[in-house]
Amino acid sequence: MGKIVAVHSYKGGTGKTLLSTNLAVTLAKHGKKVCLMDLDFRAPGLSTLLNIDKVEYWLNDYLNGVCEINKVLIDLSARIGSQCMFFAGLANPSIEAIRDMSSKDRKWEMRALGRLLSLRNSLLDGKNFDYVIFDTSPGLQYSSINAIVSADLVIVATTLDNSDMEGTRRMLRDLYDLFEKKTEIVLNKVMYEDALMSGRDRLQAFVKETYQVPLLGVIPCFCDISRAEGKTIFVHEKPQHPFTRILEDMANKIDKL
């Protein structure tokens, strides 16, 4: 049975899209059948990152009940290797679509939750996906909480920024605990020495103490990632890079959870 994994954070800019995209591709390269979904309807980014210009149906249409999920999925397997099975579902980045999604009422959100929950049947059971990965909007938004509730595992991306940490701590306590979600933390943008060398054990203890949640991985600041300007799938372009190794470790850990 496959898993639904939601990648979430309290603040924006913590690396959710970087993490979800590269994690999805890493899992696909490990031979898993993976679908990456952009549930960040406020600020969609995957269509640009994956460089897809022709889209017939968006995830917006699926949640609106306009079409079924198979119309939304785009097969990107060929992009990352002939043996891989990698699909994506995209959020519509047009201003009208963003406005439409932000004006939905509670009844619509409830139906959207039902449709996200039914992906378990249609994708995990019906199409044998091993992983469906949700990239979400930061903070406590309807669409993100829907994604969290539907997921088997939630990965929270956070930094050592003080306001991000405090917000993440509160969010874990007041939101995640209530839904009894299996949660893992990824600490991003950490100084290189702290992440990979001397400070590693100290960081591990610190995260456990602060969040009461296990640490899935630590990603140091890599200038190469800034330099890539979010135009490539990093783990695919740079298989030997330390970042790719870190993502591989994370993928292996997730597989064992």
């Binding site: 509670r106 959100e109 409830m110 939750l113 039902g114 909480i145 509730v149």
Partner: protein, 125 residues
């Protein structure tokens, strides 16, 4: 079934009828207790249809949230099926499910001896 042979068809049927009636009575009493606890007017305000969205789930007391989330996941289920997921007693889940029906979040439908609970059709539309 061997018991049926020993008892003959009729007595067993009668026993089942009695059990069924007792179960219904039990549910009715649970609803009445609920109504008394919260005051009829307050409950009527949110019935018959209240959307069971995530924000509503968040604001629910812990014991009801667990039951409501299980129904969200299963779509449509009996108290027995919910109890299997939550590892709580069937009677407990039955009480919580009926409470959620009274609050307007769930609907209930009887099929033979079994009662199925599901999220408001109107909302699922």
């Amino acid at each position: 079934m061997p018991e049926r042979e020993v008892l003959g068809g009729k007595p067993l049927q009668i026993l089942e009828k009695i059990k069924e009636s007792l179960e219904r009575l039990n549910e009715k009493m649970e609803i009445m207790i609920e109504l008394q606890k919260h005051g009829k007017r307050e409950l009527e305000a949110i019935t018959p249809e209240a959307p069971l969205d995530v924000m509503t789930l968040l604001s629910m007391p812990d014991h009801l949230r667990k039951t409501a989330m299980t129904i969200c996941r299963l779509g449509r289920a009996t108290a027995d099926e919910v109890a299997q997921q939550t590892h709580r007693a069937r009677a407990v889940e039955s009480a919580y499910l009926n409470q959620l029906v009274v609050m307007g979040y769930l609907k209930k439908e009887r099929k033979g001896r079994k009662a199925y609970f599901y999220i408001n059709k109107e909302g699922q539309g």
